[in-house]
Amino acid sequence: MNDADTDADATDRMLLQRMSMGDRTALAVLYRGYHGRLCRFLSRLTRRPDVIEEVINDCFWIAWQKADNFHGDSRVSTWIMGIAYRCGLKALRQHGDEPVADDTLAQDRGPAHDPGEDRELRDWLGKGLGCLSVDQRVVIELVYGVGHSLDEVAAIMQCPVGTVKARLFHARVKLRNVLPSLAGDSPVRKENAP
């Protein structure tokens, strides 16, 4: 955890403490601060905006209720992402698993402010993530997107670190085999890839 992360966590703890005393302004600050990353994180689970918003609000409803139960065993971001993950899984069970599909991606893509390079990158990523399981997508998002450590990912997903390592490994192997071909290159390594 670098200095920026430490400062951010200290701010989050202060906001959480104020939330535990019923401060809705603190809730609003924390909500806006996490909305973007939660939105992207949950978009790896489902493509439905209504479900994503529902899960984010469920997550912060729980955070609001349980703010005084946070004892600081982990970073606030780890705690919140864990709640969001569990709420997301519940939403998946209720609404059904909707894998990332490239046609859905194309429909959801912001048309005006999405430069061509970003669009190409999203397309490349979307097709790669479409080959992964939900758990593998979540691990990839938490490691590469959010920047969590293995221990933190294990805490978020409530599973052993070894399980996280295995999911990360298999996800990387799949992406390694799929992504070069999607980028126009021929896949050089297949099953033997690390």
């Binding site: 809705r24 609000n57 609001w64 069970r93 959801d108 590469y144 992406l175 050089v188």
Partner: protein, 211 residues
């Protein structure tokens, strides 16, 4: 993992370190080791380039348009709601399963209760007989007699007639007859003595004296 180059171990270490070097959470030694390896390993260089691109793609903002202010407004409205919606995505599978199990247990209890009532109403006499019990209630004065296999039927009939006895059971598996006196005039003890004194009778004993 299978690396077919001679520097397979270095490639494995490089593969392991890539996400954390990209994150900035790797130790300086890990970072330096990876960079020095990439200089002379084309495969890992390509892999690292792809990993960098992956991280770049993953760091793009969500492509699903959601307004944080709208969501926050909904959340605050929910907090003000009189009845808080606890566990909005509560799965119903568990409660259904619990109800189903409770129903099965209830049916079993009712069935066992009905069966017990039926058995109780049929009386307390058991529908079985222990080996020490006689098959029928013994008639007073009954005697168990085992005639010799060589005894003639006419002699057997004459003996019964002379002693005033009649056969009420048998012969059983060992050839024993149950006889009772036709009248109460001769005592059982007297009849027993007469039977035992007869040459063709192997055994005579009162039924009540069965061990």
């Amino acid at each position: 993992m299978m690396f077919q180059t001679s520097s397979g171990r270095d490639c494995a270490h490089a593969w392991e370190a890539m996400p954390w070097v990209l994150q900035g959470s790797a130790t300086p030694e890990q970072g330096e080791s990876l960079m020095s390896h990439l200089v002379h390993c084309e495969a890992c260089r390509a892999e690292f380039a792809q990993q960098s691109r992956l991280q770049l793609a993953m760091s793009l903002p969500s492509d699903i348009p959601l307004d944080a202010n709208v969501g926050l407004k909904h959340l605050l409205g929910r907090l003000d709601a009189p009845a808080p919606l606890e566990a909005p995505f509560r799965p119903r599978t568990a409660s259904r399963l619990t109800r189903a199990l409770a129903a099965v247990v209830l049916i079993q209890v009712i069935g066992i209760g009905a069966l017990g009532t039926k058995l109780w109403s049929e009386g307390s006499l058991p529908h079985y007989r222990t080996l020490s019990e006689s098959s029928q209630p013994a008639i007073p004065g009954s005697i168990r007699v085992v005639p010799d296999a060589t005894m003639k039927l006419a002699d057997w009939d004459a003996l019964l007639h002379a002693l005033g006895l009649q056969v009420v059971g048998g012969p059983n598996d060992v050839g024993a007859y149950t006889v009772v006196p036709r009248s109460t005039t001769p005592t059982q003890q007297h009849v027993l003595q007469q039977l035992r004194a007869t040459s063709g009778i192997r055994l005579a004993e009162p039924v009540a004296a069965t061990p």
